[in-house]
């Protein structure tokens, strides 16, 4: 982090990266270092990730401003279906902002203005006439801190479908004999099973969800998001507030979910990203997507010097 740390070796590495970064070779300009990062220019081919099949989400030239603050700079990336995509980077690099653009949660922040294109299976999300309710049903989200509603565990799970009108357990439905109680029970069990929470809570589904431990609450939130049967699941550092055991449960869960869902996960933890993701996108300071590709490639042989520095813990 400190600039004084720079040794001759570092300086050499920096010089090399200048070459790799496309700076004109042969110039003997003094080496400048800002906040521990090497100066280099991002190359377009670093963010091109080849994969088979269609892209589930494709983002192109996405810019986000919070007031005068340029939070995301012209980000383009394609996210494949049924896989885990990890977004990593230091604090304030725009990875959460990027995630929140994928289901238009940034619309809820008044100061945010968004420019660019996000397509879900080819359909543009940032255009007039997009049904936000439908979008968020298809693109679910799990937040950084567990935020179950102050209701029973079962009610938390069935909340989305009930409010969408898919399931009706109201008084009138009960009186008319078309209550979906059985369907609700089945949904609750299935969602909790998917979130690997069923065994721990099946005997107290009517208890208040706030009585669960932090890790259980977070898995409940995942189950709640799964209950609306989304196609894409966005996770914003879902394990950052949890202990290692709960974290590993969430990681296993994410791994399993990728069979059915397209998971995009923001994390601070690089080991976690390396363990669970199929492809990794590295955002660095300034809201830039610097490198995006196969997780193995990004972690073992990054093309960008800055990414290598970040991954090896030289800054960030």
């Amino acid at each position: 982090m400190s600039e004084t740390r720079q040794t001759t070796d570092d300086a050499q590495a920096t010089a090399d990266s200048e070459l790799a970064g496309g700076a004109s070779p042969g110039t003997d300009q003094p080496l400048e270092v800002t906040s521990g990062e090497t100066r280099e220019r991002t190359r377009e081919e670093w963010v091109e990730h080849e994969f088979e099949g269609e892209a589930k989400l494709s983002v192109s030239d996405l810019d986000v401003y919070y007031g005068d603050d340029h939070a995301l700079k012209s980000v383009s990336m394609e996210i494949p279906e049924n896989s885990v995509t990890a977004l990593i980077g230091p604090s304030g690099c725009g990875k959460s902002t990027f995630l929140r653009c994928l289901n238009r949660m940034n619309d809820r922040i008044k100061a945010a203005s968004i420019d660019g294109s996000v397509r879900l299976e080819g359909e543009e999300l940032y255009q007039d006439g997009v049904n936000l309710v439908e979008l968020r049903k298809r693109v679910g989200m799990v937040f950084q801190s567990p935020n179950p509603f102050p209701k029973s565990i079962a009610d938390n799970i069935s909340y989305g479908p009930r409010k969408h009108g898919d399931l009706d357990t109201g008084l009138l439905a009960n009186l008319l004999g078309r209550s979906d109680d059985d369907a609700v029970d089945e949904l609750v069990e299935r969602s909790l099973q998917q979130a690997a929470l069923w065994d721990e809570v099946n005997d107290r589904l009517d208890d208040n969800a706030l009585g669960l431990s932090g890790g259980q609450q977070q898995r409940l939130c995942i189950a709640r998001a799964l209950a609306t049967d989304p196609e894409v699941l966005l996770m914003d550092e879902p394990a950052s507030a949890l202990d290692p055991i709960a974290t590993s449960k969430i990681e296993d869960l994410v791994h399993d979910l990728a069979e059915e869902y397209t998971v995009v996960i923001v994390t601070h933890n690089m080991q976690q990203a390396a363990r669970i993701s199929d492809q990794t996108a590295v955002f660095l300071t300034g809201g830039e997507l610097v490198e995006y590709g196969d997780t193995d490639q990004v972690f073992e042989d990054p093309q960008s010097q800055r990414v290598e520095d970040y991954i090896s813990g030289k800054f960030g």
Partner: protein, 540 residues
């Protein structure tokens, strides 16, 4: 020697000096309680307590306590008692002692010695300055005990020698012939001195320094809280004691003892006869009662709540969840706060000038309900808004991320989470409007002491008809009585004297007690509701 570093980490067993100091604190508390008791004339100052007159007891205890505290302070200064004092008692304590002794010096010089203006000003300055100096300049152990102990001894001597004796009277010489008598002055002075001495003794018990200050503050705050609770309790107990005889007059049990009632078409006699709450006022009644006023009060509150709560919550939902935070919401906020502090008589006048002419041009129950509803409205808006703002935004985000619309989020997440707070607001508001007299006086007052036959029957008053407005309720359009209004007119206007009520004083106190019970009943309902909603939100 001074300084926190000298304090032992583990204090040894309670020493004798500590025990003495603790005993002084306890004695001060007892003295405080005794003086409060005689302020409220539970014991008059001439009554003998344990063989001595109360005034002598108070004075004697003050002298003993004062000497004990001073002795402790001096002993600490001379090193006989291990303490940890600061170099000075501090500016706040010194200033307070200076001010107290300034007043004492002035009073003694002008009232007892009869000096003129110049004389008492000089005396005041001398005593006040001396107290300030004694408190501020020496070490804390002297500074905080000597002025307090001396004041207690001085007050005790004054009481014991009869300078302020039981027959003492201080005529202020104003036009209103205001005067202080001994019955009031002696206990109040004793209470004040005992607080001071108790504080000084508590500091001594803590060994002065930071710990002593902490214990001194603790004793003051504790005595303060206790006396407030005692005051509240006394107020309620006073009303209850005065009201009970009238309340239960003529109470009788047994099959068929009570009046006949008709419920769901079945007519039967109640097994209990409780004239005060089952009768009105009539010439032939053995025992007169306030049934119409009780029913009137209950319907007033119910009507006001039914009117104000949905409107208030709706407005709060709009300005909290939908309107952009900006000038508009600020204006609404200021306006609602202003409305809540608007005097009730203004609401009453509004009801009289605006509602009454539009509702059959006569004072009516409906006009009263709406006026009280208008009074309740701002508090419901304020508290609903506050409690909705307190609902974490994470809930709203989570709900939005599940694809749930804003209104459904408000209805299923925000409102349930905010309900305990909203109910608290309604409880507070109901407590206020149930006891309001002025708006009722102007918008719905009927006869002061109505007979039982004039009890409003709102539920039974609904009538269907085939022409607009299809439903009418003449009961709502009638003037009726309410407890606070009835109490007000029975006391101030003296109307009761000329009607059929004998034992008018008993009747008034019983009415006051019933009003208290009705308001507390609404409180109980509110608190039970809040408890219910809160338990739904929390895990056990």
């Amino acid at each position: 020697m001074a300084g926190a570093t000298d304090t032992a980490l583990v204090s040894e067993d309670t020493s004798e000096t500590e025990a003495v100091a603790a005993g002084a604190v306890g004695l001060a508390a007892v003295l405080f309680a005794l003086s409060l008791a005689s302020v409220f004339e539970l014991v008059t100052i001439t009554d003998p307590v344990a063989g001595v007159p109360m005034v002598a007891l108070l004075g004697g205890l003050l002298v003993v306590l004062g000497f004990a505290v001073v002795t402790f302070g001096v002993g600490s200064r001379l090193g006989y008692v291990a303490t940890d004092p600061r170099p000075t008692a501090g500016l706040l304590a010194s200033g307070t002692f200076g001010l107290i002794w300034f007043v004492v010096g002035g009073l003694v010089a002008s009232q007892t010695l009869g000096l003129g203006t110049a004389g008492w000003v000089v005396a005041s300055l001398v005593t006040g300055g001396a107290a300030f100096a004694v408190s501020a300049l020496p070490r804390e152990d002297i500074g905080s005990t000597l002025p307090a102990g001396a004041l207690a001894v001085f007050a005790g001597v004054v009481f014991l020698t009869g300078v302020i004796g039981p027959s003492w009277l201080w005529d202020l010489g104003w036009e209103q012939q205001a005067s202080f008598n001994a019955e009031f002055t002696i206990p109040v002075l004793t209470a004040f001195c005992s607080l001071l001495v108790g504080w000084a003794a508590a500091k001594a018990y803590g060994g002065f320094g930071a710990r002593g200050r902490h214990i001194g503050a603790y004793v003051l705050v504790y005595l303060n809280a206790i006396s407030i609770i005692a005051l509240l309790f006394l107020l309620v107990a006073f009303t209850v004691l005065k009201g009970l005889p009238g309340l239960f007059k003529g109470l009788a049990f047994g099959a068929g003892a009570g009046p006949e009632v008709t419920l769901v078409g079945v007519t039967f006699s109640l097994p209990v006869s409780w004239p005060f709450v089952m009768n009105g006022v009539a010439l032939l009644n053995d025992v007169n009662g306030v049934l119409p006023a009780i029913v009137g009060t209950i319907w007033l509150v119910v009507g006001a709540v039914l009117f104000a709560v949905p409107l208030g919550i709706g407005a709060a939902v709009f300005i909290t969840e939908y309107a952009d935070r900006g000038r508009f919401t600020q204006v609404v906020e200021i306006a609602t706060n202003g409305l809540w502090s608007t005097p009730s008589i203004v609401f009453g006048l509004f009801g009289l000038a605006f509602l009454v002419p539009r509702l059959g041009n006569q004072k009516s129950l409906l006009a009263g309900m709406l006026t009280l509803g208008f009074m309740l409205l701002p508090l419901v808006v304020i508290t609903s808004r506050e409690s909705m703002l307190a609902v974490p935004d994470e809930y709203r985000d989570a709900s939005a991320a599940l694809g749930v619309t804003k209104w459904q989020t408000v209805r299923s997440i925000v409102l349930p989470a905010a309900l305990p707070g909203i109910v608290t607001g309604i409880i507070l508001g109901v407590g206020r409007i149930a006891g309001e007299t002025a708006p009722i006086l102007l918008t719905m007052s009927g006869s002061v002491a109505p007979p039982g036959s004039q009890t409003v029957d709102v539920l039974g008053g609904f009538q269907l008809q085939y022409a607009p407005p299809f439903v009418t309720n003449p009961e709502l359009m009638q003037a009726t009585s309410a407890l606070p209004y009835q109490l007000y007119s029975l006391i101030t206007a003296g109307v009761g004297q000329s009607s059929n009520i004998s034992a008018i004083d008993e009747f008034r106190w019983a009415t006051a007690l019933i009003l208290l019970v009705v308001v507390l009943g609404f409180y109980a309902i509110g608190i039970a509701t809040r408890y219910y909603f809160r338990s739904k939100l929390q895990h056990d």
